[in-house]
């Protein structure tokens, strides 16, 4: 081989080497590009939080690791920015030179996230903590436990039990979703809550007497009462007067938007026998599509706008909270903004809300009109704008027609008659005013609180099995096979006890209900046999009708605009009376309590 050939070979090899290096370069570029998408943003621990991170990285590395994965870390928001407290705050304490508080409230978050906090404050979510007088709370505090500590039955081997905390079920159950009333231990053995501290608008306590009573541990830190903490319930009543907890949905310490966008996040509370929204969603076409297409839904996107970042499937957040292409990508932290029916109470009501965001219960059309700040129609339109990303207007309107019909059918066939029967039993004192001490009270509670809600929520989110078999079928069974027989048994007992007038009054209501055409099927055959006659069912007495048609103007959206029709006018005298009784003790308690955010 000559020198020249060798030189040429070397030249060729050199260029081949160049080729392989170009391939290396291409791999490097591809790697960089992939890394840009995968690798976490560079983060730096803010100087003010440096010592927090150093120490907690050893003592509780989980919270540091979570924080490192948060947007807070990327933007240089450290520990003290959120946990910072004023020396005057009730729960403030000195922690290695920094004045901090354990519980971070919406007021703290609102220092930066202003709009979000305001929207949240206006939402039903924020009011979820007001359950003290509600039916649900009575259940957990009294029926399931006991409001006062009580003595144990017998010793528990190996575990000293002096007193039983009867509030255990409330603390672990109710309050973990609804939120607790945050309490500090007092020197006198009592508790100090927001009620004692009387904070001003900025959250600073104004009652120095209460401040002075706060018990402190050896390090000078106030002690949080375990009845109220740990707690991230969405309606927590905080010491600074703010309502709620942002970490209910944005779990600390990574506050992941990705997680808040997924149904599992809502599923901590919106599930179970009384409001299985999560399960309903999962069985719907929406949930099925989400499970399948989750990976393509761009859940890490910065704004996550429906129609721009994704369209594959809706999650809870998509419909109730997230921004979409038709509203300019505006996210709301009030999930009630797009809900037109409140399916929470025994009888569904439309979501006309007042300036404070509360659902209006006023029945007088004129007064009602004055109170309304946002109509249910506006809310429905807001929801339709979400639906329209995947469905035609015709489809959406037809869906709402089906949904309205379903709710109205439930209201008129079972909820209002059931309510009427319960009311007359109370009125005639055939049952006591105490809750849950009679079988029929449990029956009625099951009917509207569990089965009735399952049915309505099933219809609202397109899960047919929940609408029917877990819903209306069980409502009907409860109504015909338990509520009516139990009411009649109470009538029978009253008759035997000589309370004839009361018994007759109740019996009249029951018979009036059953005589209505939609209920006639139930006993028509039996009556036929009893009478032994060939004559068919008598037409229902005309006089009954106005009584039984329980103020449609206030209950069905379709009828709201027709408030001035002659029929309604004619019924006015009667309905006025019925209206008073239609809002019975049970409903008042339940409503005052907001035991569940409506329908969401």
């Amino acid at each position: 081989m000559t020198v020249k050939t060798k030189q040429l070979i070397i030249g060729v090899l050199g260029f081949a080497f160049l080729g392989s290096l170009i391939f290396v370069q291409a791999m490097e570029v591809a790697r960089r590009r992939q890394e840009a998408g995968l690798s976490p943003h560079p983060i730096a621990v803010p100087a003010a939080s440096k010592s927090c991170v150093e120490c907690h990285d050893k003592s509780s590395p989980g919270i540091i690791d979570h924080w490192e994965g948060s947007t807070h870390a990327i933007k240089g928001v450290g520990c003290v920015e959120c946990h910072l407290a004023q020396k005057t705050d009730a729960d403030a304490f000195d922690h290695y030179g920094a004045t901090i508080a354990t519980i971070v409230t919406p007021k703290d978050c609102g220092r930066c996230h202003k709009t979000e906090t305001e929207e949240f404050m206006a939402s039903h979510h924020a009011k979820a903590g007001n359950i003290l007088a509600s039916l649900d709370n009575f259940l957990a505090e009294t029926v399931e436990g006991h409001r006062e500590p009580f003595n144990p039955h017998s010793p528990t081997p190996g575990h000293d039990v002096d007193l039983v905390n009867g509030m255990a079920s409330v603390n672990v159950g109710c309050k973990q979703c609804h939120g607790s009333k945050v309490a500090l231990l007092a020197n006198d053995g009592g508790l100090i809550t927001v009620d004692d501290l009387k904070p001003d608008d900025s959250g600073r306590p104004t009652n120095s007497e209460a401040l002075a009573r706060i018990k402190k541990d050896d390090n000078g830190a106030p002690l949080l009462d375990t009845s109220a903490w740990p707690n991230t319930g969405i309606g927590r009543l905080n010491l600074d007067g703010s309502l709620g907890s942002c970490s209910a949905c944005h779990s600390r310490h990574d506050f992941s938007p990705r997680r808040a966008r997924q149904p599992e996040n809502c599923g901590k509370c919106h599930l179970g026998p009384d409001h299985p929204q999560k399960e309903i969603y999962e069985e719907s076409k929406h949930g099925v599509a989400f499970r399948d297409l989750k990976e393509h839904m761009n859940l890490d996107a910065h704004d996550w706008v429906l129609g721009e970042d994704y369209t594959q499937a809706p999650t809870c957040a998509t419909c109730h909270m997230s921004g979409h292409s038709r509203n300019g990508g505006r996210v709301t932290h009030d999930p009630g903004e797009r809900i037109s029916w409140s399916n929470r109470p025994p009888i569904s009501i439309v979501m006309d809300t007042d300036a404070k965001g509360a659902v209006i219960k006023e029945k007088d059309p004129e007064l009602r009109q004055k109170l309304i700040a946002s109509t249910w129609q506006e809310k429905r339109q807001a929801m339709k704008n979400v639906c329209l990303h995947c469905h035609t207007p015709k489809y959406v309107n037809a869906f709402y027609s089906q949904y309205d019909d379903f709710v109205v059918n439930y209201n008129e066939k079972f909820a209002k008659p059931g309510q009427k029967i319960m009311d007359v039993l109370h009125e005639q004192e055939l049952i006591t005013n105490a809750e849950f001490d009679e079988e029929i009270e449990w029956t009625w509670f099951y009917l509207w609180h569990h089965e009735g809600r399952r049915a309505r929520h099933g219809a609202s989110m397109m899960a047919p099995d929940y609408a029917h078999w877990h819903g209306m079928f069980e409502v009907a069974e409860r109504f015909y096979q338990e509520l009516i027989p139990q009411a009649r048994e109470l009538v029978h007992h009253a008759e035997e006890a000589g309370q004839t007038a009361q018994a007759e009054a109740v019996d009249q209501v029951i018979e009036d209900v059953l005589a209505r055409p939609e209920h006639q099927w139930y006993e028509s055959a039996k009556k036929l046999v009893e009478a032994g006659k060939a004559s068919l069912v008598e037409p229902p007495p005309a006089a009954v009708a106005p009584d039984a048609v329980d103020s449609p103007a206030n209950a069905t959206p379709a009828a709201t605009d027709d408030a001035a029709t002659p029929a309604a006018d004619a019924a006015k005298a009667d309905t006025a009376k019925a209206d008073d009784t239609a809002d019975p003790a049970t409903e008042k308690k339940a409503d005052g309590g907001t035991d569940t955010p409506p329908d969401a």
Binding site: L13, A16, F17, L21, V24, E28, R31
Partner: protein, 349 residues
């Protein structure tokens, strides 16, 4: 132009002819066949190792707490870090492979025989240094496997009679792997062993120059062909093209099988399967076959025999009268070598 060359030749008083004289060792014809140029291959790869090694040292930190992270930085964050690390890793593999091939060639052609026995011994020293460099380098990544590999190796050396525990102490800077072990490995890998190799290579080449390369003639060569060709530029060009082929090969290996990151060393958990680098498979399998003491002593015996093979060979030839006895022994040895390596490679425990 001439002013410049005048200026230069005045300060570096050597003429082109003298330079040619110095470097131009006549190269025997058989070196035109590539398998005789295997000695140059490890030399070239060694240069690659020095360059990539220096580059990696820019980022590598030899402490237990930062070593793994710094390797991760090189592999994941630094531009082309993964490529240079892969080059270093693959060049090491090829270097050891070519050293072994070079030695096999020398062995089977009997090139170690009189008067070149001493160069064989130096070659053996080079082999030992190369293997040690490979071992220490592998430990530097501070991955689970390399950590436990080093631990096991240290405990093996502990089994050597008399000097064992001393050797272990010297290797680990203590009774067990500790904070000072890694810097010991590092300085061995990056300074002591490379310097030793450079000096040994210098002596190795000096011996070659003094003796001349063993000349071989092949039957297909015309008798009147000159028996030598020029080192410069002829042989240099051959080496250059071999170098480029190696670079392309290394680049291909580096991109197809880049060096990855194993799990970080964890002194509390021994991995289910621990294996050393492939070039220690032989001794690892050997250790599993026999008791520790026997395996260690026999390994020492075999290595010792290899060092003094030129004299053993002569004694054997004299004793048996079979001139090719070393070839037969070599075939058996090589098969054993390959067999044990393959066995260990396919075995899962």
């Amino acid at each position: 132009m001439s002013r410049l060359s005048d200026w230069f030749s005045e300060r570096v008083p050597i003429s082109g002819d003298q330079l040619r004289e110095l470097t131009n060792e006549p190269v025997p014809n058989h070196l035109k066949r590539w398998w005789f140029a295997l000695g140059g291959t490890p030399a070239y790869l060694f240069v690659v190792q020095i360059i990539t090694g220096i580059l990696l040292a820019f980022y590598y930190q030899p402490t237990a707490s930062t070593a793994y992270e710094s390797v991760r930085y090189i592999t994941e964050d630094a531009s082309f870090g993964w490529y240079l690390r892969s080059l270093h890793k693959w060049a090491a593999t090829l270097m050891i492979a070519s050293v072994i091939l070079h030695q096999l060639r020398v062995y089977f052609t009997g090139a170690y025989r009189r008067p070149r026995e001493l160069n064989w011994v130096i070659g053996m020293c080079l082999l030992m240094c190369t293997l040690l460099t490979g071992f220490t380098g592998y430990s530097l990544a501070f991955e689970q496997l390399s950590y436990w590999g080093a631990t096991v190796a240290a405990n093996i050396s502990d089994a050597v009679p008399l000097v064992g525990s001393f050797a272990k102490q010297m290797l680990l800077a203590g009774d067990g792997y500790n904070d000072r072990t890694l810097s010991r490995f590092y300085i061995m890998h990056a300074a002591v062993l490379p310097t030793t190799i450079i000096m040994l290579v210098a002596v190795h080449i000096m011996f070659i120059r003094l003796h001349g390369v063993t000349e071989l003639r092949f039957e297909d060569e015309p008798a009147d062909q000159p028996r030598h060709f020029n080192f410069f530029p002829d042989h240099i060009l051959t080496e250059l093209s071999i170098g480029l082929v190696l670079m392309i090969l290394l680049s291909a290996l580096a991109t197809i099988f880049p060096a990855t990151m194993g799990p970080q060393a964890d002194p509390q958990t021994t991995p289910e399967v621990i294996k050393p680098e492939w070039f220690f498979y032989v001794s690892f399998r050997w250790l599993k076959l026999f008791s520790l003491t026997f395996a260690v002593i026999s390994t020492g015996f075999i290595v010792g025999a290899m060092f003094v093979w030129p004299w053993i060979d002569r004694a054997l030839v004299k004793a048996t009268g079979i001139k090719e006895i070393s070839v037969y022994i070599g075939i058996v040895g090589t098969l054993l070598l390959i067999g044990l390596t393959v066995w260990e490679a396919v075995a899962t425990h």
